[in-house]
């Protein structure tokens, strides 16, 4: 190999770890193809976002300190295939630990080296075409936290536009929340359902046979809703789409 390898820490997220490990593998494969040596810290667990969003600040701080400890011992950028977990580490960790004399600085340091997956590819590695090939008719749903808190909009669009054989269709009200919102989907399930129904009808109207997003929470929410309605539309993480290079 001519280029030196960039060491990258994969924070795979607890949900991908437990529910959809293939997404993590796709991320690893894509990064490997672009001169990255991917490291996975076995001691990583969950970033604490579910606790933080629900108002359990003490627990969220404890989990934040754990994640900081895991990654403080490592080098290289931290890459996360989720906009909301990235937002948690980039924006919320420094905020919730700002009065912690030990972890304040550590949180800021981790924040600076943490990137969402498509952001890392396009903005950090300057890779716009990963040589992907995917046959399908796709709509893209930008997940809220990535979109509004990290401005993840351009990056997925560039990567998808450069995916061969992928037909893209417009999704009406694409930037409207699918109704997941973590504990919200259980606590306020009826409102969540009403939001999901609107999202699903837009997805169906788009004519897509695959819906692409970049946060597993939203993905299982929309997939779970579509399955229950017996609608055969697959919801996939963008990493799964652009890992396909055959």
């Amino acid at each position: 190999m001519s280029k030196t390898q960039q060491i990258v820490q994969l924070l795979v997220t607890c949900m991908i770890d437990a529910i959809a490990p293939n997404i993590g593998m796709s991320v690893k494969n894509i990064l490997n193809r672009h001169q990255c040596e991917v490291q996975f810290q076995n001691s990583q667990t969950c970033c604490g976002q579910p606790a933080f969003n629900a108002g359990f600040i003490k627990q969220a701080r404890t989990m934040a300190r754990h994640t900081i400890d895991v990654f403080s011992k490592t080098t290289g950028p931290v890459v996360i295939p989720s906009g909301s977990c990235t937002d948690m580490i980039v924006h919320q960790y420094p905020e919730i630990l700002k009065h912690d004399p030990i972890y304040k600085t550590k949180a800021e340091q981790l924040s600076k080296r943490t990137f969402e997956f498509t952001q890392f590819l396009v903005d950090y590695l300057k890779v716009e075409d990963v040589g992907a090939h995917y046959t399908g008719c796709a709509a893209y749903h930008p997940c809220c936290h990535g979109l509004r808190n990290l401005n993840i909009k351009r990056q997925p669009s560039i990567l998808l536009n450069n995916t061969q054989s992928l037909k893209q269709v417009e999704l009406d009200c694409a930037e409207e929340c699918c109704g997941f919102g973590g504990l919200f989907s259980i606590n306020m399930n009826k409102i969540s359902e009403s939001m999901l129904n609107k999202k699903m009808s837009h997805v169906i109207d788009s004519g897509a046979n695959v819906l692409i997003a970049n946060d597993l929470g939203c993905i299982i929410h929309m997939q779970g809703g579509l399955r229950r309605k017996g609608i055969n539309i697959k919801v996939k993480h963008i990493a799964e789409i652009i890992d396909d290079c055959n």
Binding site: V12, I16, P21, I57, G181, S185, G224, R227
Partner: protein
């Protein structure tokens, strides 16, 4: 504010069981959302103006006592009267006494959410003083004995047919759904009110400290009529609604109109500086400005003071997918939507504690806020306060602790993962579960839940390594 007996969850159920109403609300809010986006898109340096407005609000609130004093001094120099009301009762009593003293029989009112907050109409009604709402939307609400469902568009929840029926039943006119005919009916009815009212009552969009002026914006002109025709004008202002200068007012008005209705400027922008002067023919003999606290100074002193930046444009309501789904009435407060979910528990107490939980934290509200209030963060802060008060159900408190302990111990986490794998695999079909127990059934009532993968990522990773 009058509080309903129904719980928030009951009100949500009610709202969701009327799909035709929800359709009207959703369509109305969406239209406003799009109008705002278009108006903002053609506004040069929008983001700069927005950040400037935010700074103006932050600066004003940090020295609110000084600006209020300057404002009050200027009003009094101009011949206006200032009354400082601690709460709703003090404000309503002052107006009642004033009305009795001046033998007021009929009051014409322009739209003001603050007067809804303090139940002014009920209070005056008990004293047999007739109050007529002159804003078209508020007039419809008043005729039908309803409540406004949106801070800018009080009858967002109604259709034209509803309005036609209300006019037909209350004003002795034939039924019509034609907007211009409906307008004419209201106009004819209202003209008589404007000419005969003894007192006009309005809110205040902004008080200008440097000039002692109050600014009142309306699209129907009723604000101008009620503040010039009757003998007495009473303006009620929340203590946070101050801008230091007329230049600041200019910034705010540009954002307010675009954010609220998608207009470049509201049709009538009244800047009222004192009562009628000796050489003038028009205007009220007396101008009374009531500056009301009603819980605001407590908010100002709290970690949630940013919510007082709000200029009541309603953009966050229109953008909110939760508001679009359940409408304003479900919140049970005069202030619905994201801003209401923060203001209501702070102003009106515990009954409104569940409101901050009704958000997916999607951030659409912050995106459209003309003064860039970080509404999602404020919602989380209130959730945190609720948890600290111990208001979360026991199952949630216990599961959050188990979750935290597990997360901080990678070995426990792995054991937990394997346990969950075994359990979910037993109950799943083709990798999906259709029925979960306990609180999780709220998920599986409407959606399938994925089983955990046969092999987790960490297991795959370590077997690849071997």
């Amino acid at each position: 504010m009058t509080v309903t007996k129904l719980t928030f969850y009951d009100r949500i159920d009610n709202a969701l069981s009327h799909p035709e109403k929800q359709l009207a609300i959703s369509a109305g809010a969406k239209a406003k959302y799009i109008n705002r986006a278009n108006a903002m898109a053609e506004f040069q340096d929008m983001e700069m103006t927005r950040q400037l407005a935010r700074q103006v609000r932050a600066n004003t609130l940090s020295k609110l006592d000084l600006y209020l004093e300057q404002f009050a001094d200027n009003v009094e120099t101009l011949g206006g009267k200032i009354f400082w009301a601690k709460d709703a009762d003090e404000c309503n009593n002052y107006i009642h006494q004033l009305a009795v003293r001046h033998n007021v029989k009929l009051i014409a009112k322009s739209k003001s959410m603050l007067t809804e907050e303090i139940d002014l109409n009920d209070s005056l009604g008990h004293a047999n003083i007739e109050v007529v709402e002159t804003d078209l939307g508020e007039f419809i609400v008043q005729l039908s004995n309803d409540r406004p469902s949106h801070i800018i568009a009080p009858v967002l929840h109604m259709t034209r047919e509803d309005v036609g029926t209300i006019f037909n039943e209350n004003l002795n006119v034939p039924f019509t759904t034609d907007p211009s005919e409906l307008n004419t009916i209201a106009r004819e009815h209202m003209r008589h009110i404007f000419l005969n009212a003894d007192m006009g009552i309005s809110g205040v969009n902004f008080g200008v400290a440097e000039s002692g002026s109050i600014c009142l914006v309306t699209n129907e002109g009723n604000g101008r009529l009620i503040s010039t025709t009757p003998r007495i004008h009473v303006a009620i202002m929340g203590m946070e609604r101050i801008v230091p200068t007329l230049t600041d007012l200019n910034t705010m008005l540009q954002l307010l109109a675009r954010s609220a209705t998608g207009q470049k400027l509201t049709v009538y922008n009244n800047i009222i500086t004192g009562p009628k002067r000796t050489n003038e023919l028009d205007g009220p003999d007396e101008l009374h400005i009531i500056i009301i606290d009603n819980g605001r100074s407590n908010i100002l002193a709290s970690s949630l003071s940013e919510i007082l930046y709000c200029i009541r444009c309603g953009a966050c309501l229109n953008a909110c997918p939760v508001f679009q789904s359940i409408g304003g009435h479900a919140y049970g407060s005069v202030y619905p939507g994201p801003v209401g979910s923060i203001l209501s528990p702070l102003l009106f107490g515990n009954h409104f504690d569940p409101l901050p939980h009704a958000s997916s934290l999607c951030g659409a509200c912050k995106e459209v806020c003309p003064v860039d209030i970080d509404l999602p963060s404020l919602l989380i802060k209130l959730r945190t306060q609720n948890i600290q008060k111990g208001s979360a159900p026991l199952w949630m408190q216990i599961s959050q602790w188990i979750y935290a302990v597990t997360i901080c111990n990678p070995i426990l986490f792995q054991i937990f993962l394997q346990l969950a794998q075994t359990i979910t695999n037993r109950f799943s079909q083709k990798g999906w579960i259709t029925k979960l127990p306990g609180p999780l059934k709220n998920w599986t009532n409407q959606r399938d839940f994925p089983a955990l993968a046969q092999k987790s990522f960490r297991q795959m990773w370590s077997s690849n390594k071997e």
